[in-house]
Symmetry: C2
């Protein structure tokens, strides 16, 4: 994170400007290296010899889209790609559910981090019905587990993890409702009672976290 950030760009290139814009939106400081003035950094992109090349702590990445994804994963504030946030949230949700009371500190940290992610999603929904706007999009599809799977898991295990935080977030709560009411989504959900039984059989009560 504190390591040197370099962008090899060209002043006229919209692709270089994408990377710079991503860094500026995050408030990340970087050294800008003009392609004309120094080609040394191009050793990192021997195949294409193209700009932009992004180097963080000596690790190079080419391709503006991949660079933007890397930037969003590395500096998490002001998310530009919410689906990355959602994927991280999903991966933390499972472990939170079955952590035991011995791991109470890790559990609390994981819950705090999940809360942060949910609040960032709340911001993302400002002025919008879905993450995609008026119609369902990619981020809505990826966020499906927030609306349906995680509440079912909490119900099955008798725990409250995301739901505590969700109650405080009116836009995200409304999104859950609207997502589940969408005609195509509604007919593409596993039956609730079947899912509850499945979660109980798979994850509880042996793996159930003892703290509520």
């Amino acid at each position: 994170m504190g390591e040197k950030v370099e962008v090899l760009g060209a002043w006229f290139s919209p692709f270089s400007r994408r990377v710079e814009l991503g860094l500026k939106l995050k408030g990340v400081e970087y050294d800008y290296i003009l392609k004309k003035k120094s080609h040394s950094i191009l050793k990192f992109n021997p195949v294409y010899k193209k700009v932009p090349v992004f180097v963080h702590g000596g690790k190079p990445i080419a391709d503006s889209i991949l660079i933007l994804q890397y930037i969003d994963e590395t500096w998490k504030h002001n998310p530009i790609l919410p689906h990355i946030l959602i994927t991280k949230l999903f991966h933390s949700f499972g472990p939170i559910s079955w952590m035991t009371s011995k791991e109470i500190k890790e559990r609390e940290e994981a819950i705090a981090e999940a809360g942060e992610a949910l609040r960032a999603l709340e911001e993302e929904l400002k002025g919008k019905k879905f993450f995609g706007g008026e119609t369902l999009g990619f981020v809505d599809i990826v966020a499906n587990f927030i609306a349906y799977w995680s509440p079912a898991m909490e119900e099955a295990l008798g725990v409250q993890i995301l739901s505590n935080e969700l109650q405080k977030l009116p836009r995200l709560s409304q999104w859950c409702h609207d997502f589940l009411q969408h005609p195509i989504v509604k007919h593409n959900l596993p039956p609730k009672t079947q899912l509850l039984s499945f979660f109980k059989a798979q994850f509880g009560p042996n793996n159930l976290a003892s703290s509520k």
Copy 2:
């Protein structure tokens, strides 16, 4: 396109449901193969042996995010990932600019396709200031060339390609304006006169399409 589409899924998996939701939003028919009933398709995912696995015309893909990207690239209507559309638009813009009058049919087809992409983006902006909603996001960053570079290219070469279509699209026109007025974007643009000179030197008049 007309080839067989198969999804190996599990009824309880939010990841399988993502893929099915993507296909249903596109109206693409598929064969659903329950993991429990047949494991033959799992040969396509020997590393993870996980669902979902998506198979199109015998070509397998694992990972729900990659599958959704593939679906959006293959069936272009109802885009779920606008940045893929924008990347295609960018790649068609250059060739359109310097096609000669001999290639008039190809040029017209390419312009028609670009128009379709712009109209899809117009739809995407319904009820939103930016593609990301109230604040700039990934899609806005990727779309930077529509607001600044392509109008400059057209001005430099004395052609009208995207601008003809843009005039008919009020939301996208407003987006161009708002994007360029954003304080961080505004200070991250190459100087206009310098860019015009660069485009003239690089692409015109020898490569200039003779039809206006």
